[in-house]
């Protein structure tokens, strides 16, 4: 009896040991990378998402045209002579984007789409050089999506009003 108990004990100890080791060696690396890429929600206009709320009841219209009934606030200025909405938005599933090969992706992964044409920028973004990281320099980080800074429809970074210039250094001393 005693040896059987002892064997069971050793067996379970070994099992626990293996379970502790495996995640660290095999999955450890992946886990680290996953905590690194954590993006805030995509910057949708108000009450626009999910798109299917309207589009599930609508006949999709693949014809290239100027939209008038809806989305008329969108100005296309992104290689607009060669592209149109459905190059990125999916005809059948409006809640998704599609890559050049037709693969559907979520809006939270839109950087993959941008990266298909802006490869070097995507690489720098992934390495934390282009774009912006917040959080902990030695831990969990949050990225901004390309679309947080670049309106995908007209991506040129918008100019802004600067904060006030510093006081004259001689102020009060003249």
């Amino acid at each position: 009896m005693a040896t059987i108990q002892k064997n069971i004990y050793i067996f379970f100890m070994a099992l626990i040991f293996i379970l502790l080791i495996i995640p660290n060696t095999i999955f450890g690396d992946n886990e680290k990378k996953e905590t690194l890429i954590q993006v805030p929600p995509p910057p949708f206009s108000e009450d626009i998402f999910p798109c299917s709320e309207c589009h599930s009841d609508m006949e999709p219209n693949p014809e290239r045209r100027v939209l008038e009934e809806m989305h008329d606030d969108i100005i296309l200025k992104h290689d607009e002579n060669n592209r149109w909405c459905l190059d990125c938005h999916d005809l059948k599933n409006r809640d998704k984007l599609h890559l050049a090969n037709g693969k559907l992706i979520d809006f939270t992964e839109s950087y993959k789409l941008c990266g298909q044409c802006h490869g070097p920028k995507l690489r720098e973004w992934k390495n934390g050089v282009h774009g912006k990281r917040t959080g902990y320099w030695n831990g969990k980080k949050t990225y901004l999506l390309c679309a947080h800074c670049h309106n995908p429809h007209s991506p040129k970074y918008k100019k802004m009003k600067p904060e006030p210039a510093p006081d004259d250094p001689m102020k009060g001393r003249r």
Binding site: V129, H130, W137, G139, Y157, P162, A165
Partner: protein, 300 residues
């Protein structure tokens, strides 16, 4: 008789000197006592103290600031994190000169509002002149930035590995910490401003008057070497937000920058963003020829 007279005179002069010496000592002490305590007057250089004495000072300061600003203050004395050497990257092809960093820094680090102290100066430079400090302007006023003919070049403390400022301090009130941050002990600084003269980057600033920060804007999360309220007559400078970065956070200028031009990390960690930049981007340091060895890297 004449001898007697001279003796009398001598005595009276001596007593006079004694009296004035005593009086002036008391006057100094009284002046110090008016905005700080006796303990503060006899406080030693912070870095030479043991943890017990440091904690006592910190407790005293927390009490003082809490009373003064009507807000619960915390003053950290946190030491450098092991195996870290901080480095900073600034993407000059990205910066748009919006000056958001300047004011985020002022708010985080409790700089005086009026008289105004800014730890960050954003310089506007002409594209056709390149990086040229002589032809740069900090006082640019524009409707919108970036201006098409200019680029922007923010300057703050370069956290030199070989800092000229610390060498000239006659009392040892400023030094480089193990994580590379150059700090000032505001309680030990005598305000001689030698360090300001020695700094080739104009990164040190003097409190000519009692720093003026509105009570509702003061940031009560502080570090002894960082953003705690400063007395009049001491020198202050950027510390990479020591109160934040020793807790693992990014400096507040990195957090605010809308274009993501500001990068920060551990130079000793080969996987850090800053190491990636040093390896893959074109990097320049300011006034390289002075051999100050900045840990503030401009890149593009």
């Amino acid at each position: 008789m004449s001898d007697n007279k001279t003796i009398e005179k001598k005595e009276s002069r001596r007593t006079f000197l004694k009296k004035t010496a005593l009086a002036s000592t008391f006057a100094t002490l009284a002046a110090c006592g008016s905005d700080s305590s006796w303990e503060e007057f006899f406080q030693k250089n912070f870095k030479t103290l043991d943890d017990d004495d440091k904690n006592k000072i910190i407790k005293r300061l927390e009490k003082k600031y809490t009373e003064k600003y009507g807000k619960k203050f915390s003053v950290s004395g946190k030491d450098p994190i092991d195996d870290t050497l901080f480095g900073y990257g600034l993407d000059i092809s990205r910066c748009i000169g919006c000056r958001k960093c300047v004011y985020a820094c002022v708010e985080e680090n409790n700089q005086s509002r009026d008289p105004q102290i800014h730890w960050i100066t954003v310089l506007e430079m002409a594209k056709d002149k390149g990086v040229d400090l002589f032809h740069s302007h900090a006082d640019y006023e524009r409707e919108l930035v970036p201006d098409d003919d200019h680029f922007y070049f923010p300057v703050a403390c370069q956290q030199c590995e070989n800092p000229p400022c610390t060498k000239v301090c006659p009392v040892g009130a400023t030094w480089k910490e193990k994580d590379g941050i150059v700090v000032v002990d505001y309680n030990w600084c005598i305000g001689c401003r030698f360090c300001m003269a020695a700094c080739p980057y104009g990164a040190r600033h003097f409190n000519w008057a009692e720093p003026n920060v509105p009570k509702d804007e003061i940031n009560p999360e502080t570090h002894y070497y960082g953003n705690r309220p400063r007395p009049k007559g001491v020198v202050e400078k950027c510390t990479f937000c020591v109160q934040r970065v020793r807790e693992g956070l990014y400096p507040s200028c990195v957090e605010i920058c809308p274009v993501g031009a500001r990068k920060f990390g551990n130079l000793l960690d080969p996987d850090s963003e800053i190491r990636y930049i040093l390896k893959h981007k074109r990097v320049l340091v300011l006034k390289e020829e002075l051999n100050t060895q900045p840990k503030f890297y401009y890149f593009y």
